[in-house]
């Protein structure tokens, strides 16, 4: 068994809301509310959920880009939240992130070469120009960008190419983990496929671990080893990929999968759907008991009063539901 790369325990991120001068805090949004999981080297964990489920906040809190309220993150045996600023900076070399909007996450006034070199220059200020250039070219080649494009600016590139630049920038420090926050959501289908294949290739060749945050369950299926389903800041189900897609157990997982229209008209017409009623409840005021109880087709009295624990099932997956 490989050692654990990342170990997250009972992570919580709460945001105070409406903190006015006279009124004080009106409440808290519990964006992430007690999330625990482990990640092994070379593993991709897909994190899925709808808007407001806390998936992006979870990714940012692991990197400490957002201050967590409680919980621990252990990175290679080291308590990440206990680190002082200087040590945290050093440790962050090995954890990188790529963002959803490829163009907005690149400085428009910097050349592509400078953008990609930036992390390397920050951590190795003594590197010679020739060496820096060589590493930039290597990173560009890795993500399928022609090294001649080094001197160009981000606006000269298409969305897919900008995302490749973002990936090259994340790769240049040779990290062990990349957090991918909706990396293909802004891209056209034909480009999305190129980026998914690229991430798959980098992972297989370099043994990278990925936390792949996405609302798109079809994309997640193509890249993940395990899948985590979040709903209003809590894990509903955490399972091996194939087991999950063959037989989603939590009623919310079932509804999510059945809501996605398949690109196949005959299959679509034959499909039985689990249709959810209503919208996501406000994260300011999540339902008591099970958070999914207001929309759950299997809801019983106990769901309104008692929160189900995230408990292991026969095949090893974790499900938070009283009735599966």
């Amino acid at each position: 068994m490989a050692e654990t790369l990342l170990s997250v325990r009972d992570l919580k991120v709460h945001f105070p809301i409406g903190k006015g001068l006279l009124t004080g805090a009106k409440g808290t949004v519990k964006a992430v509310d007690g999330v625990s999981f482990d990640l092994k080297p070379g593993e991709t964990l897909g994190i899925v959920g709808e808007s407001g489920c806390g998936k992006s906040t979870l990714g940012r809190a692991i990197l400490r880009l957002t201050k967590p309220t409680a919980g621990t993150v252990v990175w290679l045996g080291q308590d990440f939240f206990g680190l002082d600023k200087a040590t945290l900076r050093q440790a962050r070399r090995e954890l990188q992130i790529i963002f959803q909007d490829p163009l907005a996450s690149l400085d428009p006034r910097m050349t592509v070469g400078a953008i990609i070199a930036r992390p390397l220059r920050t951590f190795h200020p003594d590197l010679k120009k020739a060496e820096l250039d060589a590493r930039v070219k290597e990173a560009m080649a890795q993500v399928g960008l022609a090294p001649e494009m080094m001197r160009r600016y981000p606006h000269e590139f298409s969305g897919g190419q900008c995302q490749r630049i973002g990936i090259a920038r994340a790769m240049i420090l040779r990290p062990k983990l990349i957090i991918c926050d909706e990396p293909v959501s802004a891209l056209d289908v034909s480009i999305q496929a190129q980026i998914i294949n690229l991430l798959r290739k980098l992972q297989a060749e370099l043994g990278l671990s990925l936390l792949f945050i996405s609302h798109n369950l079809s994309v997640v299926r193509h890249i993940s080893h395990r899948v985590m389903v979040l709903y209003l800041g809590k894990i509903m189900e955490l399972a091996e990929r194939d087991a999950f897609y063959a037989n989603p157990m939590h009623p919310y997982s079932k509804a999510l999968i059945s809501a996605i229209p398949l690109p196949d008209p005959k299959a679509e017409r034959a499909r039985e759907r689990v249709m959810l009623q209503g919208d996501l409840p406000s994260p300011l005021d999540p339902p008591k008991g099970c958070r999914f109880c207001t929309r759950c087709p299997m809801v019983q009295d106990v769901c309104h009063s008692t929160e189900p624990p995230l408990a292991p099932r026969a095949d090893g997956r974790l499900v938070a539901c009283h009735f599966v």
């Binding site: 289908v189 034909s190 480009i191 998914i196 193509h222 229209p261 398949l262």
Partner: protein, 336 residues
């Protein structure tokens, strides 16, 4: 419930007179650095009771087709060709005529409800405006009709919530308000531009169901523009695949998904990750990226990215050839 599409149904529908006919529609935009052709000679028909899907990637011109038909092309745009609604020419028509048609028999659902509802107006005023102005209803009658329509799109507490402002609704609820607004005049023709793209999947499923039921009931003709092949499969009877402002392929929905013939349609389908797919292999990709539409080009717009390209493809634009079963394709290498 999904629409029932028997061959007899489809055949009967094809025999009916089209409600909307688009012929050789071309839309050009004047930009700082020259002219850009967004739509390049597009022709199609839509009949009542039929849902036509237009699928394409960004820059394919799919939204501009709807904007031109609605008379909403931006000020730097110029449309040519012909768009007839129930036999009447509406392309570049006078504002009076367009206002009359848009308020009574043709309407549109936009992608982003927050930017297409007026944030300063209560929902009730936005909804009743069209009924008072076009159908001569009294204010009270109009409010009753509007409340009923909000109930139809399943907005809970419609009578109370109709007095709210758009920002007081969630994204899914706002999209319902837009659908209610578009259907209020019981249109014969409905355009929907990425109607569910901004929504979460569980809400998207509700909205698509709702839309399906309502257009079926009104026996309206519908044109849905989307980049999502799943939405096409779920909603449409017939599909147009658009690339670089031109129609690449047109077919009945089952035919297209069963056997796409144009290399671009084939590439698009193979590149789409599927929920029910085996994941051992890489996704098929289309090399390069969608072309930036500047100036006019010779040849097939997809040629630079096409793996089956021959010399003729870059020299001569393939015509859209129509074949049996309502299929059409624009490619030198395939017969429709």
């Amino acid at each position: 419930m999904p629409l029932i599409r028997t061959n007899a149904d489809l055949a009967a529908r094809q025999a009916a007179t089209p409600i909307l006919s688009v012929r050789d529609l071309t839309v050009d935009f004047k930009l700082e650095h020259g002219m850009m052709r967004a739509v390049d000679g597009v022709s199609f028909d839509v009949r009542r009771g039929e849902v036509l899907g237009i699928v394409g990637e960004s820059g394919s011109g799919k939204s501009q087709i709807l904007m031109a038909a609605m008379g909403l092309t931006a000020i730097n745009g110029r449309c040519s060709g012909s768009v007839t609604f129930e036999g009447e020419e509406i392309l570049n028509a006078a504002p009076d005529l367009l206002d009359k048609i848009r308020g009574s028999s043709m309407s549109m659902i936009f992608q982003d409800p927050m930017t297409s509802l007026n944030p300063y107006m209560r929902v009730v005023d936005q909804l009743t405006e069209v009924l008072v102005a076009h159908q001569g209803k009294s204010r009270q009658e109009a409010v009753d009709i509007a409340v009923e329509m909000l109930e139809r799109v399943r907005i809970p507490g419609a009578r109370r919530r109709i007095s709210l402002y758009p920002h007081e609704f969630s994204g899914g609820m706002r999209q319902r308000v837009m659908i209610a607004m578009a259907l209020l005049c019981r249109p014969a023709l409905l355009f929907a531009d990425e109607p569910t793209t901004a929504l979460d999947v569980t809400v998207q499923a509700q909205i698509l169901d709702l839309l399906n039921g309502l257009v079926h009931e009104l026996n309206a003709a519908v044109v849905i523009v989307t980049h999502d092949l799943g939405v096409i499969a779920r909603m449409c009877d017939r599909v147009i695949v658009l690339y670089g402002g031109r129609i690449m392929e047109e077919a009945a929905v089952d035919d297209l998904f069963e056997a796409p013939r144009h290399p671009y349609s084939q590439g698009l389908m193979a590149a789409t990750p599927r929920l029910d797919d085996n994941t051992a292999h890489d996704l098929r990709t289309i090399p390069g990226s969608p072309r930036a539409l500047v100036g006019q080009i010779n040849g097939c717009p997809f040629a630079p990215r096409c793996e089956r390209r021959i010399e003729r493809c870059t020299a001569e634009t393939p015509a859209l050839l129509r074949g049996a079963g309502g299929r059409a394709a624009a490619c030198h290498l395939v017969m429709p």
